[in-house]
Amino acid sequence: MAFEKILTRYTNIPNYTGTIDEYIAHGGYQALPKALRELQPADLIETVKRSGLRGRGGAGFPCGVKWGFIPKDSPKAKYLVCNCDESEPGTFKDRMLIEEEPHQLIEGLIISSYAIGCRLAFIYCRGEFVYGAQVLERALREAYGRGFLGRNILGSGFDLDVHVHRGAGAYICGEETGLLESLEGKRGQPRMKPPFPAISGLYRSPTVVNNVETLSNIPHIVLRGAEWFASIGPPKSAGPRLFSVSGHVERPGNYELPMSITLRELIFDHAGGIPNGRRLKAVIPGGSSAPVLTEQHLDVPMDFESLAAAGSMGGSGGVIVMNDTVCMVRVGEIVSRFYHHESCGQCTQCREGTAWLHKVLRRIEHGQGRKEDLDVLLDMCDNMKGKTICVLSDAAAMPIESYLKHFREEFEIHIRGRACPFEGKGAF
């Protein structure tokens, strides 16, 4: 069944470049006046709650519930921070949204700021998004020029300033409290929770941190209603989702689909299947932090609950597909190298655990594995989970456990044979 594109409706228009005139000509900035003139902030929060919109950054937390945590009676300033630190390996949809449709995000950001009573908002872009940040800066200037930002927006009495803030290369700044630390000009080391950002966030004030894709949904919910949004996809995973499909597929790219889509349909119907007549070996369904799935899971729908029931997670929507030439020990070596590099170093379990995971996986891949290494790996993973300030440690451990669960034999062959049995020996 053809699915109506919501978030990518504009970007599919030929020659569309994302200027404010084009956005408006195709129906943009209609939700903003509706929200400001017809809806009270409390109505908006209620609408987003009823829509069932869940965060698209990784955790899948209900957006309206997050907004509802902001205290109404606090005398402090309230902040909205858009998380555009897209760094989860395998994920590249926020970059597309800001580069190709910046105004959809900005319109969502303005409406969301109004809903939570924010007068100063930031878009935290990862440092490598030099071009994306320039596109956003240009789009913000256009929005100011039309009176969608600044003082007394559209005569409503609502004021809002928005700034783009670029990070400088650190995965951990995608964790919302690491992001806030970084935005305050510090090392991006996550904070202990509670207090959660809704109570004490940016500058110790009530703060909401929302992902780019999450906010980009808001104008559509305002215009077409919570019930319309809730009717898309499975009840607990409502609305469209951008899946970033990469790796061994014919047509890698971002696919906007309802979350009722199965892994099989996504990989084989949309992304064109596995090239060169190879077979599917493994697929990571929600960014590299997500446990791996295999051929037996192909009929699992891509909603948060179904993926969790299959032993993985929806995460960031980054789907990495691997064919049967891929060595899973080498995959573990690459993935653990990443978490080791990105651990902020605050918590011992993570700082030491990620380093040792990488060290042990590397020695197995390079033919120096020891008989006890697989038990050592599992024991380390167990000690890394649920014991740290943030979940980077868990995110490093879960995938490795899953590779061992589904491909233990492959690890044992490396250790017994004292070499990687795959062609090129991990040259990929």
Partner: protein, 163 residues
């Protein structure tokens, strides 16, 4: 050390934030672009500008991959070596670059022109393997396109971004 024009831009930048320390990372980007890297003098300048200690500024600068505390080449090539790019040939690109330039990843050519650096996922997996040169993405890169890009870099015909 910092031009009046940059200083004026930073003065405006600081005003965006309720607490001026928030401007630290954007300022470090800007100062690095002007000086070439975050030298001890540059760190001291930024510290004085924001009324922080140099050690404090150094601790922040050392946390982030794009901030360089040692001299780097005029041009910076980032090569993504994360999972999808690796599946699609990142290590081949890395070996090719190292051979062509006669340096290893993490090093700078003796003429000071080019530095190589391994980077984690650049959010370019749909068009992997990906690299960035001076802040600009190049995607679906092959050894052949790398050679063309290096040629353009040497001839000053590759437009970078002020990062």
């Amino acid at each position: 050390m910092i031009s009046d024009e940059t200083k004026k831009r930073l003065d405006e930048l600081v005003k965006r934030y309720p607490e001026k320390r928030s401007a630290l990372i954007p300022i470090l980007h800007d100062v690095q672009a002007e000086v070439g890297y975050l030298s001890p003098e540059a760190i001291a300048w930024v510290a004085a500008y924001l009324t922080l200690s140099p050690a404090d500024v150094m601790s922040v600068a050392s946390f982030y991959d794009m901030l360089h505390l040692e001299p780097v080449g005029k041009h910076m090539i980032y090569v993504c070596h994360n999972l999808t790019c690796s599946l699609l040939g990142a290590e081949r690109l890395i070996r090719h670059l190292e051979n062509r330039l006669g340096i290893r990843m993490g090093e700078t050519t003796p003429d000071g022109l080019i530095s190589l650096k391994r980077m984690e996922c650049l959010a370019s997996c749909g068009t992997a393997p990906a690299i960035q040169i001076d802040g600009v993405f190049y995607e679906r890169v092959t050894p052949q396109t790398l050679d063309e890009l290096l040629e353009k870099l040497r001839n000053g015909r590759l437009q970078g971004s002020r990062t």
